[in-house]
């Protein structure tokens, strides 16, 4: 069985009957049919420490190899074979691979590489092999960067490996903006922070003087919308990620404005505006102008999110009496209810593939992160806890990150991620508490 086919089978198992996942999975119908449950066996791979081609490169080669291994293992789709199990090692990047030695330890994939450092410039070369067929997957490739950016280079390598094996784009060379939280529960201090998807390289973008909520990346990752109380009223701001300069969008006038998101083309925003205690959804240009009202009901309408093609908006409303999910045209008008299960549904987010909506569900005293098709069918709950909320999609639509808050007086928020199959639940490490993640695009 070919490597790619094997993993395609794994992916199909991870999300039975949801999205078509890879070309192979679509073509290889027989692999996907009939099996709706099963134990997922992660694909074993070996990544011998990359060769140091210059004397100074050894520590970088080591770190890059570790980051690649962590990225791949962290997906839950791959399992790293420890170097202690290796029969032989790779001592020369250019020499032919001894496939028998890697077959012997059942390593389905092998990643080899070499790292050079010259004047602060890092060059990484690498190759990916399908051990059992004895062939190389794709061509050898090389990435360059600076010493400061070696984690990014490693993420780019891992994205390429992931993509060659699964047929999907990866998500490792991406960043997440979130709210860093510190202090006791009744005097929380919140500030915006940005980090790599795996929790590395945290930087703070605002101070903690004003309460901030729910930052949202633009599709290109250059700007962030968020809600701040710095005037005393919740108002919407846009922040340039590179410069950390921010400006008020003047959305609210004297009223409360919150829950903003960019349109996919980045030229307009949708948000909630409160008037006389009632919240409706509005749209306006990022450069100002009169807000256009998209919903008009005495119910709470909030948490709007565009479809990737910008034609539709999913949002939550309690017009039926409880919080439920609705889809309407991007120009407003009639909305279709899509959530019908027991409990309350909120914070819908359209997947980057366009096929699913992720949401928060409250039912019987528990919170869940879930996904459903955009017509509301095939609802699947992925998590359950005292308080899970606020999903955000990985750039490839395979993983969801969200806020999980623990219970009680010492309760604190943390970031978690989970596969859209509900497997591979992981805590994303942050220096303080973390909430309201927004996952940005692949940077390369």
């Amino acid at each position: 069985m070919k490597l790619k086919k094997l993993l395609a089978l794994g992916l199909a198992l991870l999300a039975p009957s949801l999205a078509p996942l890879t070309a192979t999975a679509q073509d290889g119908g027989p692999l996907r049919i009939e099996i709706t449950e099963g134990v997922i066996e992660p694909l074993p791979f070996a990544v011998p420490t990359f060769q140091a081609e210059t004397g100074s490169a050894a520590p970088y080669a080591d770190e890059i190899t570790r980051v690649i291994a962590a990225d791949l293992s962290g997906t839950g789709l791959f399992r790293e074979i420890p170097s202690s199990a290796f029969v032989s090692n790779v001592t020369n990047f250019a020499a032919p691979v001894q496939f028998a030695d890697w077959k012997a330890i059942n390593s389905q994939a092998l990643i080899t590489g070499a790292v050079a450092e010259n004047g602060g410039q890092i060059t990484v070369k690498f190759r990916v092999y399908d051990v059992f067929s004895g062939t190389e997957l794709g061509q050898g490739l090389q990435y360059t960067g600076t010493v400061d950016g070696i984690r990014r280079i490693a993420h780019q390598v891992a994205d390429t490996v992931y993509s060659r094996i699964t047929g999907e784009s990866g998500y490792f060379d991406s960043r997440v903006i979130y709210v860093s939280e510190s202090g006791p529960k009744n005097a929380r201090r919140k500030r915006l922070a940005i980090m790599d998807y795996d929790g590395a390289n945290v930087k703070y973008l605002t101070d903690s003087e004003s309460l901030v909520l729910a930052p949202r990346f633009s599709k290109d990752g250059s700007r962030v919308l968020y809600t701040s109380y710095e005037t005393g009223q919740p108002q919407i701001y846009v922040l340039d990620v590179a410069s950390a300069n921010r400006q008020s969008l003047g959305t609210g006038g004297g009223n409360m404005a919150f829950s903003p998101r960019f349109s996919p083309d980045g030229t307009s925003i949708i948000f909630s505006l409160e008037q006389g205690g009632n919240s409706d959804i509005y749209r306006m240009g990022v450069n100002g102008g009169a807000p256009q009202q998209l919903t008009n009901s005495p119910a709470i309408e909030t948490a709007p999110s565009f479809s990737p093609d910008g034609s539709r908006i999913v949002f939550e409303s309690d017009r039926s009496g409880t919080q439920q999910l609705y889809v309407m045209s991007a120009s407003g008008g009639e909305a279709q209810r899509i959530s019908f299960g027991p409990g309350r549904y909120g914070t819908p987010v359209w997947s980057p593939r366009g096929d699913l909506v992720a949401f928060t569900k409250q039912n019987a005293g528990r919170f869940h992160i879930g996904v459903m098709r955009t017509d509301g069918s095939e609802e699947r709950l992925l998590t359950a806890s005292f308080l899970d909320e606020g999903p955000t999609w990985s750039p490839n639509g395979r993983v969801i990150m969200f806020t999980r808050e623990s219970q009680g007086e010492a309760g604190a928020p943390a970031l978690y991620s989970v596969d859209i199959s509900g497997r591979n639940l992981r805590r994303v490490p942050t220096p303080d508490g973390g909430s309201d993640p927004s996952w940005g695009p692949l940077q390369n």
């Binding site: 009744n186 909030t302 909320e389």
Partner: protein
């Protein structure tokens, strides 16, 4: 007006942290005296009387913004006090408990603040003396994860500010 708003918010912080021991007390105490908020709770025209004797807050049922009979009784007295003390305006803060999503709770807190504002206006307080803000679930007063705490957090607080309004 800007200055007054800031003072009012700081006073709000004091009111909210009255039964807790947090770091904001120091700054808030200064702001309170600066804004002329001192006074005895036995003086019916004092802010202390408003906050303690009448009660500066009303509570709500789960996911509701309807005023209870008890809430209306408190707000009727608040309206009378505001009628007798035209030198004060107020910011009404709406809050929610932690059982709900963040955005929804901001909207729910806005409903609650607006319900209080509407009642006070009905009882004769000039609309330009009353502002509203919602903190959603961001500023809980009681921090346990049980109904005894949630009930205190589902509130709207009328925070007095020195100034006759805009």
């Amino acid at each position: 007006m800007k200055k007054i708003t800031i003072a009012a918010l700081l006073i709000g912080a004091v009111a909210l942290s009255a039964c807790s021991n947090n770091r904001f007390n120091g700054a808030g105490d200064d702001a309170a005296s600066a804004a002329g908020m001192a006074g005895s709770a036995s003086d019916p025209n004092s802010p202390a009387y408003f906050n303690q004797t009448i009660g500066d807050r009303v509570l709500f049922a789960v996911d509701q913004s309807t005023l209870s009979t008890e809430a209306e009784a408190v707000l009727t007295q608040q309206a009378t006090w505001l009628g007798n003390n035209p030198a004060y305006s107020a910011i009404i803060e709406g809050h929610a408990d932690e059982q709900g999503t963040r955005e929804y709770n901001v909207a729910l807190g806005a409903r609650r603040a607006s319900a209080v504002q509407g009642f006070l206006i009905e009882r004769g307080v000039a609309p330009n003396r009353l502002k509203t803000v919602s903190y959603g679930k961001e500023r809980p007063l009681a921090i346990c994860s049980e109904e005894s705490c949630y009930a205190q957090n589902r509130r709207a607080v009328t925070v007095l500010a020195a100034g006759a309004g805009t």
